[in-house]
Every structure is written in structure tokens, then in C-alpha cells.
Symmetry: C2
Subunit: 208 residues, 2 copies
């Protein structure tokens, strides 16, 4: 239940409403674990039912109200339990690599497009993460300021683990870019081989 624990971790920094939670989520954990608001609201309700968070109503403008959620003792304990526990690794499930292993069914043009899209995606991710890690290193994100103000003792660890994570993601993105680039080269080679084979032996098909 990663979503639940990500939310607990955010609320540990500061009590907030569902909406600001969703906004902070988008600016921090979503870089590692994406979740839309349609998943966050019901999860908050379930966490409330489970006693992990408590909610209090607060005025919003003149007519409306919003609920501010706060970690309970149980919520704090659950967060602690989760970080202590070793979670078994996720099973492999990579749609891009899966399709790449069957690209022999695709045209060369389409195979190229796939590798190009893969490369573009990971270049973009890399840029995003690099920008984010700079903010972390400068201790210049809203959440970080709140957390560091509260806990000067842990400040180094708070920043260091996150920086380590983002460096890991950046390296991974670089790897994906290299992989996609090598894939493009492979397509070129296969196409060259295919053309050469066709010219040399136009009907070399045999099933022996």
C-alpha cells in the first residue's frame, strides 16, 4: 500500500487538506509514485476510518469548509512500521521492454518511432528530476523547509536520502536513453542487413 504510506509521510510534515495534500503530492512523491486525486480522496477517507488520521473542519472562504487531516498516534506508528519493514520487490512488469522484445513484428519505421519515444520520455524525466534534485540540494522546496524547521537533527538524512533517490532515478533515465539510442542503431543494422539479404537472395526463404 504505497499510496497510503506516501500520504502518511506527507502528513507527518504538516497537517493539511486533501487538496493541498494532492498538490504537495504532485510536487514531490509523484516523481516516484504517481497517483491522481481521484485515488487520493477515497484513500484519505479509508485512512480516516482506519484511525490513521483525524480530520477537523476549517472555514474556506465565507460559505464553504475544508477538512484538515492530522496524523494520529496510530498513523505515526504505521508510518514507522512501514519504513522499518523490508518490502518484497515488485514483480517485473515493463510494457516498453515487453513490446521491444517483439519488434520483429513491426516495421522498421515503427520500431524507430518506439525507441525515439522511449528516449524522449526519459530525457524529459531526467530533466525534471535534475531540476528537482537541485531544489532538494539547495533545500529549497516548500515541504523540505517545513520538515527541516521541525527537525534540525535529521536534516542531513532527510535531504541525503531524497537526493540519493533522485540521483538513482537520473542515472536510470540516462541508462534508458542509452538503451533507446542503441535500439535505434540496432534498427539501422537490421534494416541494412534486410536490404542486403533481399538483394543478394531475393527469395531465400526456407524452412529446413
Amino acid at each position: 500500500m504505497s499510496l497510503r504510506h506516501a500520504l502518511l509521510a506527507l502528513l507527518e510534515a504538516e497537517p493539511m487538506s486533501g487538496y493541498s495534500l494532492a498538490r504537495f503530492f504532485e510536487q514531490s512523491v509523484a516523481y516516484v509514485w504517481h497517483a491522481p486525486h481521484s485515488q487520493i480522496y477515497p484513500e484519505l477517507r479509508r485512512m480516516h476510518e482506519a484511525g490513521l488520521i483525524s480530520g477537523r473542519s476549517e472555514a474556506r472562504g465565507t460559505h464553504a469548509t475544508k477538512t484538515i487531516y492530522t496524523l494520529t498516534k496510530e498513523g505515526r506508528a504505521e508510518l514507522a512500521r512501514w519504513v522499518e519493514e523490508v518490502t518484497p520487490s515488485q514483480r517485473e512488469r515493463d510494457a516498453g521492454y515487453l513490446k521491444a522484445s517483439y519488434l520483429e513484428y513491426a516495421s522498421f519505421a515503427s520500431a524507430r518511432k518506439q525507441f525515439e519515444a522511449h528516449r524522449a520520455h526519459h530525457e524529459e524525466q531526467r530533466r525534471r528530476w535534475e531540476a528537482h534534485v537541485r531544489n532538494l540540494e539547495n533545500r529549497d522546496t516548500d515541504l523540505l523547509r517545513i520538515r527541516l524547521a521541525q527537525n534540525a537533527e535529521l536534516a542531513d538524512a532527510v535531504v541525503a536520502y531524497k537526493v540519493h533517490v533522485y540521483h538513482g532515478l537520473i542515472d536510470r533515465a540516462k541508462h534508458e536513453v542509452r538503451w533507446a539510442t542503441a535500439g535505434l542503431k540496432l534498427v539501422d543494422e537490421l534494416e541494412a542487413g534486410f536490404r542486403a539479404g533481399k538483394k543478394a537472395a531475393p527469395r531465400k526463404r526456407r524452412t529446413g
Copy 2:
């Protein structure tokens, strides 16, 4: 719908029963896309209803029967459509990295255990993929033999794309091992800093 297309790709090589499909799946695509048999059987039923595969009964022993599934024209077309199409990348969702970014809540001992487990997992994955890629390079897997016998013209591409995928996975696993190793070093440094800080200024807590 990656599962569906992975199954189509397997059936393209040879008609088979749900069980042998599940076995071949486990020995090939599962390295990239895991799925248990409890997901495969119902998906086959749905694919049959959708007209992508056809089934014929065959004797199994003296009393029982099994269903052998074959790709239909529609199934073949759907497979072709899928490989041609550029699938948007999956949203980021990595439970290990998520937890790693909140390891400041964990004990140093537990943080170490997590990185060690991460490293062990990816070392094991790497070994599995390396063994598999050797078989691919030697063209020595059951499925490959079937597919290469059918289509000598595409043989190079069939092997080359898969080898490219597994090399990518192996490099990625190496990256994860390096990342976890660096994580262990980081824990050591943080712990050393923590001890030093404690000795030098046993109650340096401040919230300014």
C-alpha cells in the same frame, strides 16, 4: 493491455493449451512482464470471446480434454496493430525508491537491510537475465527454435530485439546494484555523522 498482447505473441509461434501457454510464458515473457496463471486463464476466455483466438478440444489422457488455442486472423491483426502503435510510457511508480526517500524515519540498521535486499534482488535478476540472454544468443530456447524454423528471414531480428531487451535489463540491474551499494555507503556516513554530532553536542536540537 500488455498481458493480452504477450499471449498473442506466444500463440503466434504455435497453437497451444492454456497450461503450456502459462509454462512458456513463465520461461520467456515473465522475465519482463509477470503474470500468474490465475490471470492467464480468464484472459484467454476473454480473448476467445473477442474472436482473437479460436479453441479446439483435444484429448488429454483417456478421460480428460484440453483446449488448444490458435490465433485467428483478427488476433494476428491485433498483434500487428499493437507492435506498430507507440504506447505512452507508464507513469512512475516505484515502491522501493518511494520508501528510500523516507528512510530518515527508519533506523540505520533497517535502512541497511533495505538496501541489502534491493541489491540482492537485482543481483539475482541479473543472473537470471544473463543466463537467459546466453540461451537467446545460442538460439537455444524452445520457443525460439519454433519461431526460427518458421521464419528464417526474420531470424536475426527475432533474436536481436530480444537480446537488446535483455541487455537493457541487465544494465538496469547493474545500475540498481550500484545504487543500493551507494545507499549502504550513505547510511554509514549518516550514522558516522549522527554519532559525531551526538558526542560533540548531545542536545543540539533547535527549531530556529
